[in-house]
Amino acid sequence: MEGLTKAYPGVVANSDVSFTLKAGEVHALLGENGAGKSTMVKMIYGLVKPDSGRMIWKGAPYAPAEPRAARASGVAMVFQHFSLFEALNVAENVALGMENPPPMGELAARIKAVSEEYGLPLDPSRMVGDLSAGERQRVEIIRCLLQDPKLLIMDEPTSVLTPQEVEILFKTLRQLSAEGTAILYISHKLEEIRTLCDEATILRRGKVVGTCTPRERTAREMAEMMVGAVLTPPERAPRKDWGDTAPALSVKGLSVASPIPFGTALKAVGFDVARGEVLGIAGVAGNGQDELLLALSGEIRSEPGMVTAAGVPVGTLGPAARRRIGFVMAPEDRLGHAAAPDMSLVENAFLTGAIRKGLTRRGFIDWAATRDFAEAVIRDYDVRTPSSGAAARSLSGGNLQKFVIGRELSQAPEVIVINQPTWGVDAAAAASIRQAILDRAAAGAAVVVISQDLDELLEVSDSFAVLNEGRLTVPRPVKGLTIDEIGLMMGGAHGMEVAHHG
């Protein structure tokens, strides 16, 4: 790669980027959200054309006009958002990504053979819609492997995987690189890059800002190169005693059926959160996290006394009524649940901010105030967007997350419920989101953080509990909690490990 430049209207995604990649090397492309990593690899894969610069592939000029040409030269790519078809089965999905697929029967046999060779068991006749995130990724990887690639591009492959699945993936990637396949690995998870990659190129705002050998650097050093500033761990103000008689949020014997198909019902969940306290709830996805958020936000109603706020039963109130008394919620699913994808940021700001920020006047929307609110969120939380009129869908995942969290936290809340606060967000933004949560807690809000990232929970929480198959363990103070004890609390929770996430 030499001096590649790609400009989009309004932004230069890549400017004069150069790096080289040797056979069998695992090369990391590192950068924050919007640093231009994805654009870079799309150029290599032929999805977008560079405006200037050239690529050289095995000594010859390389300029793929379309993905087909890239595949023909031995470049394969595993996408960040899976490029799979849910209603088709595994073999059909694989066939779609190949140039000259063999007949289905033969292909199924080859899928089986390759999947076993690389320790990625997969049944070719299953529907992709029924597979877990990890299994789906296997489909993508096997699709690539069947074409015997010389260069494998992986765009943030681990963001949706459980720690065990990450382990399996890394084993596969090491095996591949030992066989001489070059791997271009895009991520902002620094610990992963340190364990896996040989070399790293660091991008910031579309430019190469440095290269390094990840094994010889600490995660902090790389993060600082990536962000271009010194990172500070979140600061915690000392807890204050607010002298309340009843906890700000109390949940007792909460049992509700799940409205989600194949969801997990909540079984007698109970906890108290006082003002200024942060309760961290851990657990592998699908153990009732979504249902707990719905029950707390009012989207699922329960018996009145199951949820009480400052001693007042609120179990039967809907979301709007709960917002009125000071609840704010940020669900995990950003597009569709936390934000309306095709509406602008201003409109999205209105949707949850209308009640607490008083954005209506005599039943009409006060657009000026709404715009001010949206712009304040964009400014305070460093949301990168062309304007507050941009559609929510057009923002990158991390930027939208910053906007959603910022919108909720700016409403002077009494009770905050957040599911996966930093999912898909880069290190610097994650740190600022965590800091914002702690600041809110210090200002007197009761906070419930549901997350799969143990390090994050241990960093922000005062007390810690684990949700497992719809049951919540008794919350315990984080201070003095050892890893072994956490392991015991996780109990049946199929082994989440610490220190996997950077």
């Binding site: 993905p67 490029s83 078809f85 088709l88 059909e92 066939a95 779609l96």
Partner: protein, 310 residues
Amino acid sequence: MDFGGINPVVLIASLMVAAVPIMLAALGELVVEKSGVLNLGVEGMMIMGAICGFMAAVHTGSPFLGFIGGAAGGAVLSLVFAVLTQGLLANQVATGLALTLFGLGLSSLMGQGYNGIKPPLTGAVPFGPLRDIPVLGRILFSHDWVVYFSIAATALVWWVLKATRLGLVIRAVGENHDAAHALGYKVQRVRLGCILFGGAMAGMGGAYISLARVPQWTDGITAGAGWIALAIVVFSSWKPWRILIGAYLFGGISQLQLSLQASGSKIPVGYLSMAPYLITILVLVIMSSGRAKASLKAPAALGQNFHASR
């Protein structure tokens, strides 16, 4: 062997004929919807096919060329839809409805002067002695070629969608156009092809009404057959063989009500003639309610426009 003045053998034979227009149109629409496009203009394309086919047959004297003309007429109208929705990214529902209105009006204009003319007849396929087999001969071997063509087309559509690369790509585009694009497939080109196929099939179905089933030209001759075809696609949950069953079912009901009217049934005519439409509504309500909905399996990208912005 009559039941209340209705001969079941004749009823079955004639329902196979009655089902042909909606079956052809529904097969075409099935392929269109499988590629993720919702074209509500079936009625308009059918009636354009009816008039174009009628004109072609009258001028050339060949019923076969009439059907070709009908297919061409439907395809040309569907091209308008394709340009608007795929090229200019217009809303598919609105464009489809407009297409129907446009087709009805344009066909009426083109049909001026063709009222009361007899088109050349489409004869039955000569099966010789096979035709004289009792019962079976009348049901299976007494039809014109289009009836057999419609059954063959069902088999062909089923096979292409299930077993060929082309079918796989069509289904992929209809399921997730972003992923298909990321893999390097030409989403708009695939959809354009499917829309043209759907138009041609609807046009042929329309031509069958004006050339064989009625056979003459009057304004609004398709009388809602296009809407029934659309309903059948949903009823069949996007499976070609179920289109055949659905079309025969609806063909049977509309044929039965005609026979009942003819045999002087005591039920008022109005109720009989609305029966097919009532049953269409009923089927759709039952199928889209509750648990049955999950098994409908509509193509995930149905009705969504695609633009390769990123």
